[in-house]
Each structure stands twice: as structure tokens, then as C-alpha cells.
Amino acid sequence: MNSTYVKESLKAFGAASAVALGMALPAVADGHGGKVKIGLITTLTGGGAGLGVDIRDGFLLGVKQSENDGLEVIVEDDQRKPDIAVQLADKMIQSEKVDVMTGLVFSNLALAVAPATTAQGKFYISPNAGPAQLAGRGCHENYFNVAWQNDGPHEAAGATANKMGMKKAFIFAPNYPAGKDALTGFKRMFEGEIETELFTKLGQTDYAAEIAQMRASDADGIFFFAPGGMGISFLKQYADSGIDLPLVGPAFSFDQTILPAVGDAAEGVLNTAQWAPDLDNDASRAFVESFKAEYGRIPSIYAQQGFDTALLIASAAAKADVKDTDAFRTALREADFVSTRGKFRFGNNQHPIQDFWVRKVVKEGDIFTNTAVEVAIADRQDVYASECALKW
């Protein structure tokens, strides 16, 4: 290569960058927000599909309401399989060139995808799964969680169990990262004695053996974590078993995607989450109304989480160009949006510091839903934040 060629190339490169910069500036300055390409991988088929469908619907509603035409969302189905999720993530990052990844429901898939995503310099913003591994030592400046750290709702359930007067608890959860976090979180806040602790199989549908053990135990209450179809199966079988012990659990077994299939078996049960459909603030009321109008059903916590995630991304896009990762990250950390939870802020590990509510399953006319009872724990920050090296 001779020097004239190099000079010509440099000139061309200089001209091209000038044009590119010139085009980028108006995109941020026009007020509606910059362009962000978002890859949403979630579980749309198979067991747990209801959760992914709600996250997707809530997210897309949030994107629509942000009125930012530059937000482009590509949706894919991971079928609850980690290997498929990883393949889809690779395709989205390397082939579709997305800027931000989001959407995964389950913690085992999140642990497979999020670290690889952030290592490639892209943002991963979790609308659901919050495994402990990614909140503490494994935290990363490109990984944000808008829902909760997994232990949170379970800690709130532990606090609720104390208030219910439970002294000897029978506890169980499926044997996967979120299940382990569930039992850890419950035990951290529960002041009574753990009578029995069990791990069931992920996807298990027959709980007859566990119910028999409950019958033979002398526990005075049951805490369980069983998202999606697992919760439906357990609740139906428990209701038919003749055992009369009180139940408490995180909202994942009592949310809007499950209640229609469970019916009376869940009525009156207390459950914990960061939000309830009848929460007393304007943003939440507006969200529930618009979700019902758009999709014809009451939103679950998954839909609310997807919605808040979209609002977060839109708020950052309005302030910074996603290609400038440092500026975009700062904008994300500010969390300058009106959350359906009322107040919302991030801790140093980029997980929320928030209130957890106790909700009760009630029947309104023909429909089962949850109503907020009281705050279980206020301004809760996860215990792993101190292990995270991020400081800002």
C-alpha cells in the first residue's frame, strides 16, 4: 500500500465519520429519544409460556407508550431451554447487532445468557430472573435488574410468615438456582424453626409424595416456591388433600397467569411481590387500565416488570446515545422514569431497592386476582450488594 492510498482512505474515513456523527446527533436531540435495538428472548411456548407472554406484552406496551419510534424490539422464543436461549442470544448480538438484551424468565437461562452478553459489551436488563450469582460477586456494569433480586419476594414471605404466627415451617422449592435462592431468602427472614426442607424437580407435576410428607410432619405452616404449571399442580393437589395448614409464598405461584387455572384452591392465600394490580398510585392505575384495554386481561407481576423495563430503557434512550455505553449506563442508573411501583431506585449492584407488599388472593365477581394488603418489608436492598465490586 502506498502513502497516497493511505491518505485517500483516511480522508474517506474522516468524511464518513463526520457524516455518521452528524446523523447521530439529531437522533438524540429530537426529544423522542435515540435509536436502540432491543433483543427480547423469553419463554413463549412450553411450560412457563404464560410468564414470557406477559413479560413480552407488558414490554411492548411500555415501548408503545414511550412514543419513541427509535426503539426496535426483536422477539424470540427460548422454549425454556438454555441451549436455545444461548443460540438466540448469539444470533441477536452477532447477526442482528442488538444494543440491549432482555426478556429471560428463568434464572438458569439468565445465568447462561447474561454473562456472555455483558462480556460482549452489550447491556442485559433483566425483567424477571435475578439470581444471586449475578447480584454479588458476579455483578457487571452492563447487567441491570428491574424486577428484584431472587431472594427478595421470598424474604418478604418469611417476614409475612412471622406476622402470621408461623413457628414451624415446611418449605420446598424446585432444584434450580431460583429455587435455592427462594429457600435461602425465606430462611433469612423467618424467625421460626424449619421443620422440613425439600427440593423438588424442576417441572415436577405430581406432588403426592411431598403432600404425604406434609401430612406426616408437625409443621404449622407451609412455604413453597413453584412458578407456572408447577404451582397450579401443587395448589390443586394440596386443596384436595384434606390438610388444613396455612400457605404462604412469593407471588410466582399466585399471579394472574396462574389464578384462572387454580380457582378456589388459592382463595385467601397471602403472597408477596413488589407490586399488586390495585396499588394506590397513578402510574400503576394507568398501566392496569391500558393493559386491560390492549390485551383484555388483568396484568400479572410479569407484565408489570416487562412494562417497567421498557420505560427504563426508553428513559435512558431519551438522555443518551446507546452507542456511547458509558453515557447510556449512567442514564440507566438514574432510573429517571415513573415506575408503577411508586418509587424506584437502583442499588450499587444495579438491582432495585424497593418495598415488598403482602397481597391476598380474592375473587372479584368471576375473576380471581390479588389485592394489596400492606408493606411486608420497606426499602429492601438485597444482601449481595456488598459483595459487588461496582461503586458509582
Partner: protein, 305 residues
Amino acid sequence: MNMLLLIEQILNGLQFGVMLFLMAAGLTLIFGVMGLINLAHGSLYMIGAFAAAAVAGWSGSFLLALIASMAAAAMVGALIELTVIRRLYDRDHLEQVLATFALILIFSEGTRWIFGSFPLFLNIPEYLKGTVILPGGIEYSLYRLTIIGIGLAVAVGLFLLISKTRVGMRIRAGENDREMIGALGVDISVLYTLVFALGAALAGLSGALVGAIQSVEVGMGEPVLILAFVVIVIGGIGSIKGALAGALLVGLTDTLGRTMLPVVFGTFMDASSATTVGSALASMLIYILMAGVLIFKPTGLFGSS
């Protein structure tokens, strides 16, 4: 672990086994008579559950829902037999697997398209709810006892069908030598459609019975299908007796393993590790059982060599 708990767990194992038998009986007949590996059997289970949920919601009658589940599964079974399965009899097992796997995908998407992604509501009828006290003071779910009863009745009925009726005789002959009975003038295509529809109806019944105490959702059939294959391999392909024996064995091993292993490990490990190791080992147990049976009896417990 006291005696009452042990007996309750044994009953649970029996109930699980009976449910597996309903799935495995159809599968083993189809494999035995037609030499066909049918992966879509799990989808027929799902279709039975969905049909039952739909009819129960519309009519309020559980009995009607059960009948509807068998009818729907049998009709769908006959339909796919006439259109797809028929072309696979002479083909390699791998091609049968590919084609029936495609059917799984079609049925899953189709069901999602018609019924949506959220699980459906199907519940135990009022007259079967609650528990009964069995001799010995054991409190057990009436519905699960009913499932055991229905399963055993189906087993007896199938046995009588296969050994005492003309149709049964033809089925047994077909298992033995397909070409010969064709040459002897029996219309094998009608026989095959009949056997397929019968297997499908059993799968649908199983789906409906189990759907009432579990979750009626897309993809509910595949985990059961895998277990059903383990059952027919253990029991011997083509044998109803084998399907029953294999199913009860698998049901009891799985249930008792899941409950006893953590307890056994708990005697020398802390609770958390005992549960983790115990449940991990328990989920491998039925496959270890299958391997063990195959070492001593390569064609299964009641299989013909």
C-alpha cells in the same frame, strides 16, 4: 418415616404407575402391532386434557369431559393414522421418529393457536373431592383412589379384549406376523387404524384424569411420553402385562425413591445436601432401573425374544 406415611407413599406410587400404564398400554400396542415408534403419543395425551377442560367448562359435567377426552383423542388418532402414520409402517424407525416429532410440533402450536398460551382450568368434580379414611387409619385422596380404580379396570378390560375377543386375536396375530394375517384375508389397514385409535383414546383418558390435578398446558405430554417409553422398554414391547408391570414398577420406584433417598442421606449428611443429593439420585433411579432390567432381560420383563 412411619408406617402410615410409607403406605400413603406406596399408594401414590401405584397411582402414578396406573397413570403411566394408560399411556404405556397404547404405546406398547402401537409399537408391538405396527412396529411404529409414535412420539406424538404425548400430544394425544395433551389433546385429551384440553378436550376435557373445554367440555367440562362448557357442560359442567366431569363424566362428559372424560368421554369427550377419549373421543377427541381417538378421532385425532384415527385422523393422523389415515393421513400420516399409514405411510410410515414400512419405513425406518428414524423416519418414523422424525415424522411423529413433526406432529408434536404441529399439535403444540395448533393447541396454542386455538386455546392460547395460558394454562386451562380443569378441576376434580365435587363428588370426588376430599379424602377417605382407609382401613388402618390412612387418609387418602378419593380422586387418586378413583384413578387407581379406573386404571386397573382398563387393565382388566384390555386384557379381556386382547385374549378373549376376535379383534384381540387378530391384534396378537398381527404382533406375531404382520404379513401373514394380511395374506389370510384380514383387513390390516382397518385393524391398524383401530389399534391406533384405541391407543390414542387411552392416552387421552390419561391426560384428562391427570389434568384435573395438574396443569393443563401445552407441552404437558412430553415428560410423560419419555417415562412411558421407559415403561415399555422395561415391560417388554407389545405386552400389556409388561406395560402394567413396568408402569407399577416405575411408579413405585420413582415415588419411593424421591421420598426415601433424601431421608437415607439425611442420616449422615446435613439437611440441605441430603435433599440435593437425594433428589438428584432419585431422578436417575428409573433409568438405572431400566438399565438393570435390560442387563438381565434384554427384551424386557415380559417381552418376546
